[in-house]
């Protein structure tokens, strides 16, 4: 029991609005600092645009749009995630640092969270200074978001 509680996970902290999120770095291929962005007219609501990633044109979702927030005031950073059908990106306001969190600090989503966020967030790590919301890239895959949007 003690082993599990002490097991450390490395997460990358990212900020959107006033909230900090933690993404396990095992899923993160690369962080692009304020890349040039190409918007895609008529794209589904959650798509932030296209970014140039290693000679490929990468589709990036926007965490702000996914959460139904207003557009970011300035240029955003992009996390590149790997997935079974190729990489995709995610726009966030800024990328913080890589830190270690332990399973002991973890707690599942509160029941009072709205259903959209329930389906997106994995829970939260209780850090000393703040909460770090758990984000799992597979829940943010464009195809999954598209399926959810179609169901709604």
């Amino acid at each position: 029991m003690k082993d599990i509680a002490e097991r450390k996970t490395e997460v990358c902290s990212v900020r959107v609005g006033d909230t900090w999120y933690g993404v396990p770095i095992a899923h993160v291929l690369e962080i692009l600092g304020k890349p040039a962005t190409q918007p895609v007219p008529l794209a589904p609501y959650f798509v932030g645009g296209l970014v140039h990633y290693r000679g490929e044109v990468l589709t990036a979702i926007s965490l702000r749009r996914v959460l139904g927030m207003e557009a970011a005031p300035g240029p955003e950073d992009v996390l590149v995630f790997e997935s079974s059908d190729g990489p995709f990106g995610m726009f966030v306001d800024s990328v913080g640092e890589v830190m270690q969190v332990s399973a002991a600090e973890y707690e599942p989503n509160p029941a009072t969270l709205d259903s959209r966020r329930q389906s997106l967030f994995g829970g939260a790590w209780k850090l000393k200074e703040r909460l770090l919301v758990t984000l799992e890239p597979e829940r943010l895959h464009p195809m999954r978001l598209a399926a959810q949007a179609a169901a709604a």
């Binding site: 007219p41 008529l42 296209l50 000679g55 044109v57 589709t59 464009p142």
Partner: protein, 785 residues
């Protein structure tokens, strides 16, 4: 799937491809030992490896084939149409099993059909052996019992058992069948003594397999096949060794890896551009930059080359197709292949496979006549379909030509009328060329009856759509009684397409050049008057015809534009749908690398992909035909529009240009392209201005007198024209318009005024291209001196 199986699948596919080629050749050269050996090898390799990998279905099938092939190879059987058909069917079956292994990892089951196949192959063997047996008798230095053993099943059953008496000795068991077999083949050829055979057999490394095949004896299998099968390893070994040379210097590479390399090279090109820009001020860096430039260009070319494959990869399947179709229709058709080593990007090869198959089907079904009809018309009974690939500029041309009846123009016209593809009034005005173009309309088919081959209403429009999808073009040429030629013009590579970059609301979009026919610029004050409206539908009058307009910003629900700003109309012809796409502005044409979009964005439908431009910005690539279809641009209307644009009373289209203050007209049909180049690119060869253009030397007519003007960096416009077989360039100050010109008649005589036309109600002189002097033929020699 493990590596071994994958390797096996690839190898077997290649083997079967080779086999297919050889089998159809075999029909013309039934006794060709090399062909037979090649076919044998393909089947034998499959059999050998399958036993090892445990694919029993493949093994029993290939074994049966091997038996038959062994007889053929050893000259005991003469290949005939029936045998070749049998072997082709076997090949299809083997392919089917391979496919199943590829997809599911297992062979799948189909015992009854397999058994039927094996029985068929055996029947073929028996029929042949009986016949050959009679012929072979006099020369045979083989003892009577052996011949009997080979031919008669009961005797044969005993034969393999003989070694069985010594079953304890494994070696002995293996040798016996080999011994017999070697005797068989050698005796026939050179009358070798049987005594020499055992020694040979001992050296044979392949004995293990023969033995196992023997031990697992399937009762139906005739003995002599067992026998011949075993003769193979000894004979095949040297042949395999000679073939090993190429295998050593080549390597199989995953296409995904090549795609990745291509991407990385693209990335490198972009980085290079940025470095060159950032360091242009520093002289030391400039030299390094140039080197980087050269290396990058070289690298890009090498990677592109690695993706190239000879068209023979696609051509090789056609002999079989032609054979089967011709047999099915009772026609005699010979297929000639030319330029098989012409290379094309792998993805393009895949893309032309279906259109070509379709075109060849058409040739045989509609083109080539029945033998008796051909003879009656004074043609050889056997029709010829020629498939030819060759380079032309930056394109590869693939031509399908038949010497059949040619297209029946009046029937095409009738059909088009019957199907409502064209109106009566128009049909009567149409030229021969226009009528031929009708075959590309969807829903057009002239086949009198629906055959298994064609006539189902899908046809040439699909060929055209597929070829246009890869940025190619289709041309057709037909002469009644002499035949039809269909030419596919394919770009060298799919990964890179020429496109025009346009702007809409500050965003870049790429429009494939293939769909672009012309561009119209409207100033602020013209927009109100030149764009007309019918109940919310915008229209533009293009040379007297109404062209539907689509506003890109509205289509994409971008923020609305200011009322008063200039705009450009890109006039597009997307698979027969003509419309004008209204954009905010135009940038330069650019060769773009097409990048695929994620599925969620592909679903939008208007985008064909995305690309990264030379300046590092991104652009979405528009899909003109999807836009046209979604906006409801109708095809028939568009097709009619194109069709009757030309024969209109004495109107020819001209490119109206201004050069050195004068207006001049160039016949539009001769204009190849219009280039903006810095003046410094024009070079002098003696007193002649010349331009290096697409790797060739273009003589220039400096009509705009731009060379007199000092600034070498200033941009100048060059109109490249075709004059017969040669191309020439003409510098102009400005391109004004494309417009229809009316012929002028001399007052009184009514004679056509040469060299003059009426454009925009002004008499304009037509540039005489022939008047531009050719380069002297020994010109290069002179320049060298």
């Amino acid at each position: 799937m493990d590596d071994l199986t994958r390797e096996f699948l690839l190898e077997s596919q290649e083997g079967l491809d080779r086999m297919e080629r050889c089998l159809t050749d075999l029909e013309n050269r039934p006794g060709d030992a090399e062909l037979l050996a090649e076919i044998f090898r393909a089947v034998h390799t499959i059999k050998g490896t399958t036993g090892f990998l445990g694919f029993s279905r493949l093994e029993s099938l290939s074994h049966a084939g091997e038996n038959l092939l062994g007889l053929l190879r050893d000259g005991k059987l003469e290949a005939n149409a029936e045998i070749i058909s049998g072997l082709l069917t076997l090949m299809d079956r083997l392919r089917g099993v391979l496919r199943s292994i590829d997809q599911t990892g297992a062979e799948g089951k189909n015992a009854p059909e397999d058994a039927a196949m094996i029985a068929r192959l055996e029947a073929l063997q028996r029929s042949g052996v009986a016949a050959v047996g009679v012929v072979a008798e006099p020369e045979a230095a083989i003892s009577e019992p052996e011949l009997a053993a080979a031919m008669a099943v009961p005797v044969r059953v005993r034969k393999p058992r003989q070694p069985g008496k010594r079953r304890g000795a494994g070696a002995g068991k293996r040798v016996a069948p080999l011994l017999v077999d070697t005797a068989w083949s050698k005796a026939g050829e050179a009358g070798l003594h049987r005594e020499s055979a055992p020694a040979k057999a001992w050296d044979e490394p392949e004995t293990q397999r023969s033995a196992s095949a023997d031990a697992g004896a399937v009762p139906v299998r005739p003995a002599k096949s067992e026998v011949t099968a075993k003769a193979e390893p000894a004979d095949a070994a040297p042949a395999a060794a000679t073939g090993g040379g190429t295998a050593d210097s080549t390597l199989r590479v995953d296409v995904d890896l090549l795609n990745r390399m291509m991407n990385l090279v693209g990335e490198l090109v972009l980085t290079r551009n940025q470095i060159l820009q950032a360091t242009s001020a520093d002289a030391g860096f400039a030299l390094l930059g140039r080197r980087l430039d050269m290396v990058t260009a070289d690298l890009r070319e090498s990677v592109m080359k690695a993706r190239m494959q000879p068209v023979s990869h696609v051509f090789s399947r056609f002999p079989r197709l032609v054979r089967d179709l011709a047999l099915g229709l009772g026609k005699q058709v010979k297929l000639e292949l030319e330029g098989e080593d012409t290379e094309l990007d792998k993805s393009l090869l895949e893309a032309i496979r279906d259109p070509l198959t379709h075109a060849i089907r058409n040739c045989i079904d509609h083109g080539i006549e029945m033998p008796e009809v051909r003879v009656a018309n004074g043609k050889p009974a056997e029709g010829t379909v020629r498939l030819r690939a060759y380079h032309e500029g930056s394109h590869v041309m693939v031509e399908v030509h038949d010497d059949g009846a040619g297209m029946n123009l009046s029937r095409i016209r009738e059909k088009a009328l019957e199907r409502g593809l064209v109106t009566m009034a128009r049909a009567e005005q149409m030229s021969e060329r226009d009528i031929l173009q009708l075959i590309f309309l969807p829903g057009f088919s002239t086949a009198a009856a629906v055959t298994s081959v064609s006539g189902r209403g899908v046809g040439m429009d699909v060929v055209r759509t597929n070829v246009e999808k890869i940025g190619g073009k289709v041309e057709v040429d037909s002469r009644a009684g002499e035949g039809t030629a269909l030419r596919l013009r394919i770009p060298l590579t799919l990964a890179i397409i020429p496109a025009l970059i346009v702007h809409s609301r500050g965003q870049n979009f790429a429009v494939p050049q293939g769909a672009l026919t012309e561009l119209v610029h409207l100033n602020e004050d013209e927009i109100g008057s030149r764009i007309e409206w019918i109940e919310g539908a915008a229209l533009y009058r293009l040379r007297g015809h109404l062209l539907p307009l689509i506003f890109l910003d509205r289509l994409l629900q971008q923020p609305p534009r200011d009322a008063e700003m200039t705009c450009d109309i890109a006039i597009l012809n997307a698979e027969g749908r003509r419309f004008g796409l209204v954009v905010d502005g135009l940038a330069d044409p650019e060769e773009i690398v097409v990048k695929p979009l994620a599925a969620v964005l592909r679903e939008i439908g208007y985008y064909a992909g995305a690309t990264i431009l030379g300046n590092g910005e991104m652009a979405l690539i528009l899909n003109p035909s999807a836009i046209a279809q979604n906006a409801g641009v109708r095809l028939t209307g568009a097709a009619e529009d194109t069709l009757d644009a030309e024969p209109n009373a004495g109107l020819d289209d001209y490119l109206l240009v201004e050069a050195d203050g004068r207006r001049a007209a160039l016949p539009l049909s001769t204009v190849v392209r219009i280039e903006r180049i810095p003046r410094s690119r024009i070079e002098m060869a003696g007193s002649r201005p010349v331009l290096r253009f697409e790797g060739a030397l273009l003589p220039l007519d400096d009509a705009a007198a731009c060379l007199a003007d000092g600034d070498p960096e200033a941009q100048t416009t060059v109109v490249v024209c075709r004059d017969g077989d040669r191309q020439i360039g003409m510098t102009v100050s400005q391109v004004l318009d494309v417009t229809g010109g009316r012929h002028l008649e001399e007052a009184g005589t009514g004679a056509m005024a040469a060299g003059l036309t009426l454009l925009h109600e002004k008499v304009t002189s037509i540039v005489s291209l022939a008047g531009i002097a050719a380069l002297e033929t020994d010109f290069c020699g002179e320049a060298g001196r």
